[in-house]
């Protein structure tokens, strides 16, 4: 039940954000903001509805909580995150190069700083975790 409550809170926050973005989009007459806000709101409301339905069925709730916490799922998520990190840094470097080629040196610099900060953060966390474990 703890996991479902946590997910409900998370979806509630996303829903509130979605509503906020939609309102901002309406106020600024920005169709993109409105669409993003509406999409976030709808998706989070659907997820909240799904979670409420789960709470009514013990067996389904147990299977859902198991699928969220079991070790193989955590292993897969960890591996995916790791790959995404490497691919993201690589893409940021490529993006910075492309921006430089097209004469956007300032933007390229920002992208490079972001990539650099990610790598430094990774190294710092690696050192911390290697001492902890």
């Amino acid at each position: 039940m703890k996991i479902i409550k946590k997910n409900l809170i998370y979806c509630g926050i996303i829903c509130a954000l979605g509503i906020g973005i939609s309102v901002a989009g309406v106020y600024r007459e920005d169709d993109l903001l409105k669409s993003v806000g509406i999409a976030l709101t709808i998706v989070s409301l659907l997820k909240i509805a799904q979670l409420f339905i789960l709470t009514r069925n013990d067996e389904r709730r147990r299977k859902y909580e198991l699928s969220m916490t079991e070790e193989r799922i955590k292993y897969i998520a960890s591996k995916s995150s790791s790959f995404v990190f490497y691919i993201t840094v690589f893409c940021e470097v490529i993006a910075a190069l492309i921006l430089l080629i097209f004469g956007h040196a300032f933007a390229a610099g920002i992208v490079c700083y972001v990539a650099g900060a990610q790598v430094v953060l990774y190294l710092v966390l690696y050192i911390i975790f290697s001492r902890k474990y």
Binding site: K63, E70, E71, R72, I73, Y75
Partner: protein, 77 residues
Amino acid sequence: MENNIAKLRKERKITQEELAAAVSVTRQTIISIESGRYTASLPLAFKIAEFFEKSIEDIFFPGKANNGKTKNREDIK
């Protein structure tokens, strides 16, 4: 890592779903462990061994993948 979970399970006429429920994992995890695609953690290996009332070494053993077929410990010796 190889294992003979599938063999033990069939001997005792237990389904993958039942084993999964007994050791608190999903059926997909049991499938992955049996096929050798996923190596169970130590706590999970202990739970599986306890379920079958055997030692871990009787269930899990290092071995070369052989088209997904598991080997007995005697074959490796």
